[in-house]
């Protein structure tokens, strides 16, 4: 019989124990990762209270360098993304609902751009820029025995390597998040002005009316949470490299995917909690 020249895609084998079991295994693995990452975060935070002024000085120096890499160097990319995203939001509203009152437009900008997009997009940008850098750097440090070398010199990696990155990412995400929100609003209002939207003052009023002091708390909770999540998950996966540099890209990929997924879920959970505590969106708006 002539062999068929038609490409037959290989059958995807059903995972051992079925898809439900595979889902369960993934759940267990996710739980294990979060547990381990949380442990790493607690260990790093506790080292902040360790004695040694000289060690604290060294850690501060690394922290400032990390804030520069994560925060300051991330500014151009955050600026560009925020301005375009804000303008896109405004464009969509102008196209989809041209008659929408300016006040409602302002409220939508406040809820969607400030409360949701700013924290989430900032966290995703930081995860993709600095999260990959952190996972790769720590992975390479593991592979080249740098972390063992530090330990041999009496330097705790949790204090000297993890803590500065954790602090830097948290500070950077919070600051960049606020900056992102402001620049995105600038983009939205800028586009509205360019297209001659007649209701700029109504938009401003709607925006001001929606925002409350509690939004500062929401920003802080989302910023600190997403920052910590990105930092510890990326540090955790970097630490999982076990002696071979070929594991580094693998772990970096896993780190970023899990960090972004974690931020999306965390963002949703905090929003849900925010409205369940402060009332429904309509009541709050």
């Amino acid at each position: 019989m002539r062999p068929s020249t038609r490409y037959e895609p290989p059958e995807v084998p059903e995972p051992e124990g079925g898809w439900l079991a595979a889902l369960g295994r993934e759940g267990v693995e996710t739980g294990r990762v979060w547990g381990s990452a949380l442990g790493l975060m607690v260990a790093a935070i506790l080292t902040a209270f360790s004695p040694g002024k000289a060690a604290a000085r060294a850690v501060r120096k690394v922290t400032f360098a990390q804030i520069f890499f994560t925060g300051a160097q991330g500014l151009p990319f955050v600026t560009a993304t925020a301005i375009v995203l804000g303008a896109t939001m405004m464009l969509q509203m102008r196209v989809a609902a041209p008659g929408l009152p300016g006040e409602i437009v302002g409220k939508v900008l406040a809820t969607v751009v400030l409360r949701e997009l700013a924290p989430l997009v900032t966290a995703i940008i930081v995860a993709s820029r600095s999260g990959t850098a952190i996972a790769t750097e720590i992975g390479n440090m593991q592979a080249s025995l740098e972390l063992l070398g530090l330990s041999s010199m009496g330097i705790d990696a949790a204090r000297f390597v993890i803590l500065p990155r954790l602090l830097a990412v948290v500070v950077s995400v919070v600051v960049l998040m606020v900056y992102f929100g402001l620049v995105a609003l600038l983009g939205a209002f800028g586009l509205a002005a360019v297209f001659g939207a007649p209701q700029l003052s109504a938009m401003r009023a709607g925006l001001a009316d929606t925002l409350a002091l509690s939004d500062l708390l929401l920003f802080a909770v989302k910023g600190v949470g997403c920052g910590a999540l990105v930092a510890v998950v990326c540090c955790h996966y970097g630490m999982q490299v076990n002696g071979s540099s070929t594991e580094v890209p693998l772990m970096t990929g896993k780190a970023v995917i899990r960090a972004v997924l974690g931020c999306v879920l965390y963002n949703f959970a905090v929003t849900l909690l925010f409205y369940s505590v402060l009332g429904t969106p309509s009541a709050h708006m």
Partner: protein, 237 residues
């Protein structure tokens, strides 16, 4: 508190290799433990275990009566245990220059060691000079240094802390004759120093003969002490 290095009923596995199976050993303060053995038996894991960088699956490792598994690395320095470790390769901080690498442990523990900044810089330069590294090389990142020079930087870093526990994993591997001689001189000075407990693994006959201490052979998870002057024939080069 027992001065020295103690392994008590230690079992340690790495992957499929049983590095140690219920082994006990004592190296007194100022003593020397020299381990040899065939490739792949776990000599590097063993020396990392004795230095408290890896922790046993069973049993206990103690340095001056302190178990590194139960305290952080800085606590050992605070307790007066200054470890120096030279890896077979690697171990230097990639984003620090040779000088910064050597000064790192001194800066980090400056208050515990009572060192002023000028002394740190001076000592780091002196140690680099002692292994023949001077000029532009001291400001070079490890990745841009040759294997032999990077290894000498690691030696300088080990010397800078003025260790009372010194661990060397295959110390003269990859060095030319002249630099191997420098390394041998450092090792013999540590061997003769009653304040330094020296642990090293090597398969180099010349180095082992020069050090002239009793040798343990790591084989099948056991540490077998060989008589002075008798060396295992097969695994040495």
């Amino acid at each position: 508190m027992a001065d020295g290095l103690v392994l008590r009923n230690v079992t340690f596995r790495r992957g499929h290799v049983t590095v140690l199976a219920g082994q006990s050993l004592m190296v007194p303060r100022g003593g020397t433990l020299l381990v040899t053995g065939a490739n792949g038996v776990g000599k590097s894991s063993l020396i990392q275990l004795t230095a408290g960088l890896l922790f046993p699956d069973e049993g206990e490792v103690q340095i001056n009566g302190i178990s590194p598994a139960s305290v952080g690395p800085a606590a050992l320095v605070n307790a007066g245990i200054r470890r120096a470790f030279v890896f077979q390769q690697g171990g230097l901080v990639a984003n620090l220059s040779a000088l910064q690498n050597v000064a790192l442990p001194l800066r980090y523990h400056a208050d515990t060691l009572g060192l002023a900044e000028e002394v740190i810089e001076q000592r780091a330069r002196f140690c680099l000079g002692a292994v023949g590294i001077e000029g532009a090389q001291i400001h070079t990142l490890p990745g841009r240094l040759s294997f032999g020079i990077a290894k000498r930087v690691a030696f300088a870093r080990a010397m800078a802390i003025e260790p009372n526990y010194a661990f060397f994993d295959d110390p003269d591997a990859g060095l030319d004759r002249e630099n191997a001689q420098v390394v041998e001189d450092i090792l013999t000075s540590y061997r003769d120093d009653p304040a330094v407990t020296l642990v090293l693994v090597s398969n180099h006959r010349a180095l082992i003969e020069r050090l002239a201490v009793s040798v343990h052979e790591l084989f099948d998870g056991r540490l077998v002490r060989l008589e002075l002057g008798t060396l295992p024939p097969s695994s040495l080069v």
